[in-house]
């Protein structure tokens, strides 16, 4: 392990960019699991599916970020359908919904993953864009442009969603249904429709997250497995229901992973998110800002 | 008759929300105790803290002269505190009989015959093999009480066991509670049905916004201005 302050600074810088990216890909889960309590272990798989959709759309000539944005409405609808199905089949019946719901999403993740393998093969896929491949030179440090783009999109996305949830009527209704569903019902709002809408938004956001994923690096169908660790680490570390916490948690994970990558090598990096997740579950399961 | 339960300055917070703000009360052995208060006043939170489903943030809870606020719920049940749930939580994959076998085997270490006696006393003897999904509302409430009884408690907490029941059904449940008390079981009753609380309780405490606002006999409670304001609004 070679240590120098230059390397340390570069690792931290990269970690901040990476962390924002992790926050952005986790924010959909912050809503679907953190607020709506859906055991959505298929969230990373849907995001990877979004990456492949971006790959296809970008292949028609569209910029990847734009492709992601274009896909958002379709993914919104997908999210609504998935939630509706989940609600009717599991949440309504109540008993043993926990085990069956988990098993359902686990199975769904596998189906999506194999579907992608059958459709695209196991090889890695990438997209092309002017900002992918070159780096910004900042003094002695080189920052890949694609990381800056992802960082920018991530900030905008996180800010937009946080503002939406706290300033708009529907957004506040979503937060309300997370905190006190019976009260909401008494006020005349339909909790199922609100949750459905929220899950749709979370899934729509996943489309853009998927676009960022394939911009930041190559994707392969099994990538969702690794991202189960990263996304759940961020959401649990943030604390269920906290949007701003997601950014902080993402940064912590990003910097931690970047440091491990720099000083211990790539063979240890996958364990960082999972290890951090276990530590949080062990000593402070409510996370940093949890309910 | 000695003091059975001492709740001393108990507080409980949920994030920024204070559910209980320094509640103190004392329950004597063999007493019939009523706990009333408007919705959201903290009644269920208080008994959750007493029974162990929740840990109080501050204050002490002493049962039979031992501090219990750090004990998990199952240990408190084994010490003699049993509770029924406001919304019945039967073991839905088990028959009525089996539901009672759980506390019987884990707490009372009793024999199966005991369970039949309880079912008879409570009026569910003919439903021993039924699943909870086949029971009516009042039968579910009775099952909740029967399960608490199977734990051979010294203190039984009945959480709104009569909510939504008809007049005759309320009388049925009330009789069961009176009979249990006659056998020496101390009972805390949480209820909204005022005439039941008044008939049953020897002493009543009224909770509002996490604080005790009045304590006394049923007659004095009903006339108390604070209580009336809490229920009917200022």
């Amino acid at each position: 392990m070679i240590f120098s302050f230059d390397l340390l600074f570069e690792a931290i810088l990269f970690g901040i960019l990476l962390g924002c990216f992790y926050a952005a890909v986790s924010i959909g889960l912050s809503v679907s699991f953190g607020l709506l309590d859906v055991p959505h272990v298929a969230h990373p798989a849907i995001m990877v599916f979004g990456s492949y959709c971006t790959y296809v759309v970008a292949g028609w000539g569209l910029d990847p970020i734009l492709a992601g944005v274009v896909l958002m409405p379709a993914f919104f609808v997908l999210g609504v359908l998935i939630y509706r199905f989940y609600y009717e089949t599991f949440e309504r019946r109540g008993s043993e919904a926990g085990v069956r719901g988990l098993a359902f999403f686990f199975g769904l993740a596998f189906i999506i993953e194999v579907g992608l393998i059958l459709g695209f093969g196991v090889d890695q896929r990438t997209v092309q864009a002017p900002y992918i491949g070159s780096s910004l030179a900042l003094g002695e440090y080189r920052i890949p442009y694609r990381m800056l783009v992802a960082f920018g999109v991530a900030l905008v996305l996180t800010a937009a969603l946080t503002v939406y949830l706290s300033k708009t009527f529907t957004g506040r209704a979503i937060k309300a249904v997370a905190q006190d569903e019976p009260a909401l019902r008494l006020m005349g709002a339909n909790p199922v429709r609100i949750k459905q809408w929220a899950f749709g938004i979370a899934t729509g956001v996943s489309a853009l997250a998927g676009a960022m994923l394939i911009i930041v690096g190559p994707v392969e169908p099994a990538l969702d497995r690794l991202y189960i660790g990263r996304t759940f680490c961020v959401v649990v570390l943030a604390g269920l229901g906290s949007m701003t916490g997601t950014l902080a948690a993402g940064l912590i994970l990003g910097v931690a992973e970047s440091l491990v990558l720099m000083f211990f090598g790539a063979s240890w990096a996958p364990a960082v998110a999972f290890g951090l997740l276990l530590v949080v579950l062990g000593i402070r399961p409510q996370g940093l800002f949890g309910r | 008759m000695g003091s059975l339960l001492q709740v001393n300055n108990v507080s409980k917070h949920f994030g920024g929300f204070t559910a209980l703000a320094g509640v103190s009360l004392e329950i004597t052995q063999g007493e019939r105790f009523g706990l009333i208060g408007p919705n959201g006043s903290g009644k269920t939170t208080l008994i959750n803290c007493i029974a162990g489903s929740l840990r109080n943030d501050a204050g002490s809870i002493r049962f039979q002269n031992a501090e219990i606020s750090r004990l998990p719920a199952y240990k408190r049940t084994r010490l003699g505190i049993a509770r029924s749930f406001q919304i019945p939580r039967p073991f839905h994959s088990m028959s009525v009989l089996e539901n009672l076998l759980v506390p019987l085997q884990y707490v009372a270490h009793g024999k199966e015959e005991e369970v039949f006696a309880i079912l008879k006393k409570i009026g569910l003897a003919d439903k021993a093999d039924a699943l909870s999904s086949q029971l009516s509302q009042v039968e579910l409430r009775k099952l909740e009480l029967a399960r608490a009884m199977a734990a051979r408690p010294r203190l039984l907490i009945s959480d709104e066991a009569m909510a939504g029941l008809s007049g005759a059904e309320v009388d049925e449940v009330l009789k069961i509670l009176f009979d249990l008390n006659a056998e020496g079981i101390t009972i805390i009753m949480i209820e909204h049905i005022m005439h039941a609380v008044m008939r049953f309780s020897q002493r009543v405490v009224c909770l509002d916004a996490g604080k005790i606002i009045c304590e006394g006999t049923p007659a004095s409670i009903v006339q108390n201005a604070d209580v009336q304001r809490a229920y009917l609004g200022a």
Partner: protein
Amino acid sequence: MKYWIGAALLFIAALAAALSPVNEYFFYAGYVVLTFVVLSTAWNILGGYAGYVNFGTGAFFGLGSYSAVVLFKALSAPLAVQIVAAAAVGAALGFGVGIMTLRLRGIFFAIATVAILFIMETLMVNWRYVGGATGLQLLRPDVMAPFSSYTRMLFVVMALLAVVAVSVARYVQVSWIGRGLRAIRDSEEAAESSGVPTLRLKVFACTISGALMGAAGAPMPMYLSFIEPASTFSLNWGVSALAMPMIGGTAHWIGPVLGALLLGSIQQIVTVTISNEINVLVVGVLLVLFVVLAPDGIVGLFKKWVRYFR
């Protein structure tokens, strides 16, 4: 009593088959199917009886495999010792993970099992003694008479483990422990209030489950003559170990056995005739179908038909 007679007969049948001139491929495939009988039975003790879902079966199974490899490499330990040691290690992991996460909600336990899986894989990838990422080749010891091949012997060993696993599951199910676990699954809060020491029972179930999964992993390196982290610590073990009990039926010990025999056989056929990817797809689709349409599994369907025709 009927159970023990049946179990003895099945084991004797397995032994007789191993000593007969049946096609060698039967034992290659049969070993894997029997492994799944153990894994799904073990999974069900915590997942079916208590309602806590384990995604990381591969972690316990793989840890058992690697423990066996370490013992074999360092001490030339015989298979029986490997199995016992693997069970102990699996139990320790089950206990540790259980104590740490079973006091939380079910989904946190499930995610924690995935975390353990990946961490185990990373540890083994970085451990040169066991071959790191590329893995280790293993030389099988000489086969013991009366078996004509090592695979046949492993087949019989796994049959014995299957009998042990199912017997343990059956005992847990019918005992007061089983009733406590079911109470936890039905309503954990009510169980706790009824005097059930919920955390202790859950940790107990997790420990037993881990021990059996570890034991099932021990003969695997010998079966393959090879071990490497990626396939050993794959999430695929997890989805199968979960799908089989859910398809067979989680309430009764026979459910995981049926699920493993059925799905395990389908998997062997599909993998050989079509592809491994389609195999995983079949598992995923069947899992989702059963979870949605027949949540009580094959056992549940059978019970419904019996009631219908009465």
